[in-house]
Amino acid sequence: MSNIWDIIIVGGGPGGLSAAMYGARSKLRTLLIEKAKPGGQAASTQDMENYPGFAKGTTGPALMQAFADHATSFGAEIMRNEVVSIDAAQKIVYCKDGSQYQGHTIILSPGAIPRTLGVRGEQALRGKGVSYCATCDADFFTDLDIVVLGNGDAAIEESHYLTKFANSVTIVVIHDEGVLDAAPMLQERAFKNPKINFIWNSTIQEIKGDGIVEGVVLRNIKTNETTELETNGVFIYIGTIPLTDFVKGQVNLDSRGYIITDERMETSAEGVFAAGDARVTYLRQVVTAAADGAVAAVAAEKYIIEEEGFAESVLHESRPVAVAFWTPMIPKCIEIMPVIETAIAAYGTQAKLWKLDTYRNQRVAKRYGVVQQPTVLFFHQGEVVNRLGEDEITPAAIKGILDSIL
């Protein structure tokens, strides 16, 4: 058992690192697997002004270093490797180098990568003026003229950052004049920035250059007119795509590839949780990814305790076990419990009763198809051998079943 981790986390962005911190602090054996350097997308931005508690702002890399240090300070292990597939039922992750790791639970936090535009010149000129990372490449554009495509938070925030280097930043926006998707505070700052210009109702149709970016072909989406604009660089911020190919078929994804979870961050696979940008969620930020990570780690801890308890007390028990699914919120349950208790107590040490509060542990109830409380399931050698529904629970019925097993 000692080589089975309590929690295996895939991805070391803010979601994964937060989960690792919570997991390790709960004394769970926590392994985080990250294919690059911990920090994720958050480490790729300098301007980080909206993480609570940092009024004057911090930088993405600095905040992420603090997240990673925090997680390892409680004993989480961070390993560099790339997960290529998972077995959700067995809780095994398979890595690119052929190694594999097993956990009691898995938390997926693989995040997302920038969406590419898919136009001529984009691929060929990547690293030659086409960029998706201002922090990485801004230096090169000192005193040069650049174009930014996009108008969401990332596009507008990064444009602002780029004006610290570039001579001018021209933002190409698909919407009507004055309309940006970015937060109002970011919009206001961009409109006031003398180095920022806008081109409205337009998109980039082609990126031109011989070995290095020299210009872009813009297309006005209203008039279909094309114009050329000379530029030294193109930064593209048109959204992201989730890195979830490696879990396809193991957990349910939506049509765009985002992982579907419930409010406890549990995926369609029991004991497999997800956090952060790769999840179907309303807001994709550092603070929400971190919050998801906390929820996922606590839910994973609860899952481990419940599963261990159920396995030990019911599945690995040599005597017959009557599992009473009940909840104190239903009067009928409270009424019938003494009847069940007395009927089973009559068997002394030959049989055992295990009460399961379905409000606290919905998972086991769901697994065994228990939809009504009270219900009694009779387990022997790890298997369900009989069951009694709400109206069938009588001392005689219980006795009949236990006698037939014994």
Binding site: A36, K37, G39, A43, S44, Q46, P61, Q123, R126, G127, K128, G129, V130, S131, C133, T135, C136, D137, D139, F140, F141, T142, G211, I212, V213, N232, G233
Partner: protein
């Protein structure tokens, strides 16, 4: 591992005999920092077959742009004073670099 910069690039890269592999990186490029240990391992492994250099673009911007590098990370391969191959930001993985080295030596 040679540290190359604007003053020695000519001599150490362009005029060097055989295959020269240059890691264009920058201190603010997280992806570059993540790649560095892999590059160092490859430098050790193939050090007798090619010359491995790293170039910090933050102090050598003009040199980088002259080499048509305007985004990081880039691993460039030189022979006889010419750039003969290059791996851009989306292709720079340990496996990708190793495959290219094996192809060129």
């Amino acid at each position: 591992m040679f540290e190359v910069h604007k003053d020695n690039f000519d001599q150490e890269v362009l005029q060097a005999p055989g295959l020269v592999v240059v890691d264009f990186w920058g201190p603010k490029c997280e992806k570059c920092l993540a790649l560095m240990p892999d590059f160092e391992r490859l430098a050790e492994q193939y050090g007798d077959k090619a010359k491995f250099c790293k170039l910090d673009t933050s102090g050598n911007r003009r040199l980088a742009i002259a080499q048509k590098v305007m985004g990081l990370p880039v691993i460039a391969f030189y022979k006889g004073g010419e750039k003969i191959a290059e791996l851009g930001p989306s292709e720079c993985t340990a496996q990708g670099i190793e495959a290219k080295i094996l192809e060129l030596i």
